[in-house]
């Protein structure tokens, strides 16, 4: 789970990474106390690419700051409106660098990524240097140095980067972060100041470490609190939901099969309306009722496709849960079913008792859902 820039910078500050002395701006505040102008007013949202979407505005005085704040609070960035802004001093920069620590499968653990030219166009440049570490205790300064030497010729910057990278790796492990990214990490134009400053910060927490990290638990609670009522009820069952822009609501089991079904709907000319993986939740009415309530309450969803292929999840239980859920459901949106997996042989008999049909293949079910969605337009 990604946290906000100002939260990420607070974390970086606690481990000795220099960050600008910024000011938080909340809505409704007419005259925020900014120490010095100009400032960069930055929308605090949990998605990337903010800079390219106009989420950072320069303000030279209090009047401009007020106008920038008004504009940013009214703008959606990837569907998210900022609830807080960060005003950082506008600094003269000599060079923007890129430094991040993340986890990856090929490394069997942590990797350090570094590019001597960072900033918003990092993806357009050559790929960053990649130092694969494995577990955090395998970090070696001399190994990273050997990786950096070909791309970073300024040894003073190189040595500072090595020292920062080690701290980030240790922090990622100790604080359960999937990613800590500093882009840009800035060498200021001020020649007397050799320090590297984290002008931006992105931290992605490992949500499953919530039981041993109070900050992560607080983020999880915040996520639940921000969710609207119907979504919250589904999330409380452990369901994983991503809203998409189509009209076929998908209730599915397993991340891979959910995406497989989304792709198939698309292949038949339909548009998936969501990714909703209910497999981490209970295979009972307690689990299925909030999933249906969420999609029934979404005016964009015209048809619901239930597609579950279960191993540990037993299909006779799912079929009975669906029967009970459908019995109390008020919405008239059509539902298409496709269950397969453990004990699927018992499904048709259960479905017959409430007049439902279980499609034998995902193909026929997806086609039916696409057809029904077109009819309800």
């Amino acid at each position: 789970m990604m946290i906000l820039e100002h939260e990420a910078k607070a974390l970086l500050r606690t481990v000795g990474v220099a960050v600008p002395d910024g000011t938080l701006i909340k809505p409704g505040l007419r005259a925020p106390k900014v120490r010095e102008y100009p400032v960069a007013v930055k929308a605090q949202v949990r998605s990337g690419g903010r800079g390219k979407q106009g989420g950072v505005i320069r303000a030279n005085n209090a009047r401009e700051l007020h106008a920038a704040a008004k504009k940013l609070f009214a703008t959606e960035f990837n569907g998210e409106k900022p609830t807080v802004l960060l005003a950082d001093p506008w600094l003269a920069i000599e060079r923007e660098l890129y430094l991040s620590v993340t986890v990856d499968s090929a490394a069997g653990g942590y990797v350090v990524l570094y590019a001597p030219r960072g900033g918003v166009n990092i993806e357009d440049g050559p790929p960053p240097v990649r130092y694969a570490i494995g577990p955090a205790w395998k970090f070696r300064a001399h190994e990273l140095r050997a990786h950096l030497e070909p791309v970073e010729t300024d040894y003073r910057i190189r040595e500072r980067v090595i020292s920062l990278a080690q701290r980030l790796v240790e922090t990622a492990a100790a604080r359960d972060c999937h990613t800590i990214e500093i882009n840009p990490l800035a060498k200021l134009a001020d020649a007397d100041n050799p320090e590297l400053l984290a002008l931006d910060g992105k931290v992605v927490y490992d949500e499953w470490a919530h039981y041993r990290n109070a900050d992560i638990e607080a983020q999880r609670q915040g996520e639940l609190k921000r969710a609207h009522k119907l979504l919250r009820a589904s999330m409380e069952m452990g369901h994983m939901y991503v809203k998409l822009d189509g009209d076929i609501g998908l209730i599915s089991g397993g991340a891979g099969m959910t995406m497989g079904a989304m792709d198939m709907i698309h292949g038949y000319g339909g548009k998936p309306g969501c990714f909703l993986d209910v497999s981490p939740g209970p295979a009972s009415p307690r689990g299925y009722k909030p999933a249906f309530a969420l999609l029934d309450g979404d005016p964009d969803v015209k048809v619901i496709l239930v597609s579950v292929f279960g191993g540990g999840t037993q299909m006779n239980r799912v079929a009975r849960a669906l029967k009970e859920t459908m019995a109390t459901r008020k919405s008239k949106k059509p539902v298409v079913f496709r269950l397969d997996g453990t004990y699927v042989a018992e499904v048709p008999a259960i479905f017959e008792t409430f007049g439902a049909h279980n499609h034998a293949t995902l193909e026929t079910a997806a086609r039916e859902a696409v057809k029904l969605a077109k009819r309800t337009k």
């Binding site: 998605s47 990337g48 690419g49 990837n78 986890v103 990856d104 499968s105 090929a106 069997g108 653990g109 942590y110 993806e123 494995g134 577990p135 955090a136 395998k138 492990a173 359960d176 999937h178 490992d206 499953w208 470490a209 039981y211 041993r212 994983m240 991503v242 998409l244 089991g253 397993g254 991340a255 891979g256 099969m257 959910t258 995406m259 497989g260 989304m262 792709d263 198939m264 709907i265 698309h266 292949g267 998936p272 990714f275 993986d277 497999s279 981490p280 579950v308 292929f309 279960g310 191993g311 540990g312 397969d340 997996g341 453990t342 699927v344 995902l362 193909e363």
Partner: protein, 294 residues
């Protein structure tokens, strides 16, 4: 042959007296898996359906010559249980748990490497060598014995994919669930190396997703000299960027790990990439036909 698992593996179950452990011992035992011991601290000296339960993995290994561990403890305890089994001498530890912190898996992987052991998962269905043995909850009827090695990042997709193969009369040597997490006990590249050395495996099916770096190793293998034919399906064509699609690793963070870039990289490396699930069996047939020509 098969890889990693057959009837000769002597399996101990970490967390034998829980619901999952009990169900697994009954289900996998009847499938053919040789289950010799359970481990549940505080319950040593008891038994589950006649299988003896021990206080520690070490005690179980000494008494029963167990060499393979099935880890069925809650996510909070997986690191402790898996490392205990590995350090007690198990050469393979299969982890199915989801909701596990990635740092814990990093430590388990390091422990396995240090002890010359292997591990698979987490966030996976486990593994099955059809007709021989299974380590996990996969629905057995989806699988049959045959020439395809299968590697999957997703449990449900491996059931769906293998059922399609089985219905088409194409069996599998072993199906390895490498799981949906960003750090894996066994990577796709490592599983491919094992399938490469298995004489019974004629070709490999790789079931992948958007996000992560796994597919790079698949492409590298397919390009290598003497590689067995590889078919693949990558799901998530319709997934929006920047959103986690259930699995922690299934997130398009940059163009390189999106669907288009991955399928293109695999295709140019000679992988038979399926155009969605309906096309899967055909691509596997093409891969098998290519294997017959060599």
């Amino acid at each position: 042959m098969s890889i990693l698992l057959d009837q000769s593996n002597r399996v101990l179950v970490m967390g034998a007296t829980g619901n999952y452990g009990k169900f697994f011992m009954k289900d996998a035992g009847s499938y053919g898996t040789t289950i010799v011991a359970g481990v549940s601290p505080g319950r040593g000296g008891t038994d589950v359906d006649g299988v003896p339960v021990f206080e520690s993995a070490k005690a179980a290994v000494v008494a029963t010559r167990a060499d393979t561990a099935m880890v069925f403890v809650p996510p909070v305890l997986v690191r402790a249980a898996a490392i205990e089994a590995i350090e007690a001498g198990c050469k393979l530890a299969v982890i199915t748990a989801d909701e596990m912190p990635v740092r814990d898996m990093i430590e388990i992987r390091a422990a396995a490497l240090a002890n010359g052991a292997r591990t698979t998962g987490p966030n996976s269905p486990g593994l099955i060598s059809p007709g021989k043995a299974k380590m996990g909850f996969m629905p057995s009827f989806c699988f049959m014995r045959g020439p395809m090695g299968v590697i999957s990042r997703s449990g449900s997709l491996s059931y769906e994919g293998c059922k399609r193969l089985t219905v088409a009369g194409i069996g599998q040597t072993t199906v390895v669930g490498i799981g949906g997490d960003p750090v894996k006990g066994m990577t796709a590249g490592e599983a491919l190396a094992l399938f490469h050395d298995d004489p019974e495996t004629k070709a490999v099916l790789y079931l992948g997703e958007i996000g992560g770096v796994e597919e790079i190793a698949v492409a590298e293998y397919a390009r290598s000299q003497g590689a067995k034919p590889v078919a693949a399906l990558i799901v998530g064509k319709t997934a929006p960027p920047g959103k986690k699609m259930g699995h922690a690793a299934a997130l398009v963070g940059s163009k390189a790990d999106g669907h288009a870039a991955k399928t293109k990289m695999l295709r140019t490396s000679g992988v038979y990439v399926s155009n969605g699930l309906p096309d899967l069996v055909k691509q596997v047939q093409v891969a098998l036909a290519a294997a017959d020509r060599t």
